[in-house]
Amino acid sequence: MMETGETQVSEADGSRAYWLLRGMSGAISLPGLILISSFVGFAALAKAAGVTAAQAVFMTGVVWALPSKVVLVGAVAAGVTLPAVALGVTLSAIRLMPMAMALIPELRSERTPRWVLYALAHCVAVTSWVLALERLKDVPRPLRTTYYAGLGFTLIGMNMIVVAVVYALADSLPAPISAALLMLTPMYFVTSLWGSAREQAGHVAMILGVVLGPLFHILVPDGDLLAAGLVGGGAAYGWHRARRAIAS
């Protein structure tokens, strides 16, 4: 069906509305539900840090990537100044670049306007990215941007609502449940980061980071995350190079 006129929407492809709905329903899936539970955790975290409900919902919409939001809220709670917070969030978000780079060739057809790709790139974060790479191959190429818009913006909108609801309910929860909600984010991250690491250096970086974060929190309270990232990541990269040098 797709040999002729790659960018033309043909009858057999199904309608744009159909693929938009398919994309939207992709948000209701196991990864989507796990993401919701981690946004419940994020909302509890933001509330404990003193961020208001409206600010947390706004943050969810404009930042979207959960690791960056957790870095942002953590630094905000610690009273770090704007330039240092921005640097920490920037470093935490570098991973979004290779993810966007990998997704774009899957998404676009010859006629896709650039601005559409930039707008869709805002949805790039671990969950939508994993779901998209898994499912886009079954979507007709001219309608892939439509599918991803349905998936990505539904995930964002859904979790903005989740954050607002958690803020409304959080005060009425018993203490063990509140504590358990705050435990969701770290558990979501250790498992998803471990599973999504491309090379073993990622695992080394993770183990070092988990230990160095609290250690530097005591030694250099103002720059703990940057120090953990640079020292842990640098060491993991060194390990990667050394291992390859030995192998060759």
Binding site: A44, V89, T90, P98, L182, H217, G233
Partner: protein
């Protein structure tokens, strides 16, 4: 120039835009602009990913060792134990995230109820 350091209602939003939105969409947009020109396995990308991973892992470590809110009043040993056993369960179940998360949560809640 801290988040809570201004009386203006709009300051936290501007703070979020500058330190959150610009800092994240910059990389997404750069990824679109470069559009697959950098090799996946290149050394620079390995370094970049390693630093980002260690940084986020550092956040995770702090969330468990120095938590806020209702988690702050729980014993450190219980949080560490729940996290370590949960992570072990994630491995034992063939790297299923949901198992790791649920085991850690169940242990934490059970521990808090028994205290």
């Amino acid at each position: 120039m801290t988040y809570f350091g201004s009386g203006h209602w709009w300051w936290p939003y501007l703070f979020i835009l500058l330190a959150g939105w610009v800092a994240t969409d910059f990389w997404r947009f750069l990824g679109v602009a470069l559009g697959g020109r950098m090799a996946e396995g290149s050394d620079l990308l390995v370094l970049v990913r390693s630093v980002a991973t260690a940084l986020v892992a550092g956040v995770v470590g702090n969330l468990i060792v120095f938590p806020g809110g209702a988690l702050a009043t729980t014993p450190l040993a219980l949080r560490l134990g729940a996290a370590v056993v949960g992570f072990a369960a994630y491995f034992a179940s063939g790297k299923r995230m949901i198992v790791g998360i649920l085991v850690a949560e169940a242990l934490l809640i059970a521990g808090l109820l028994m205290l």
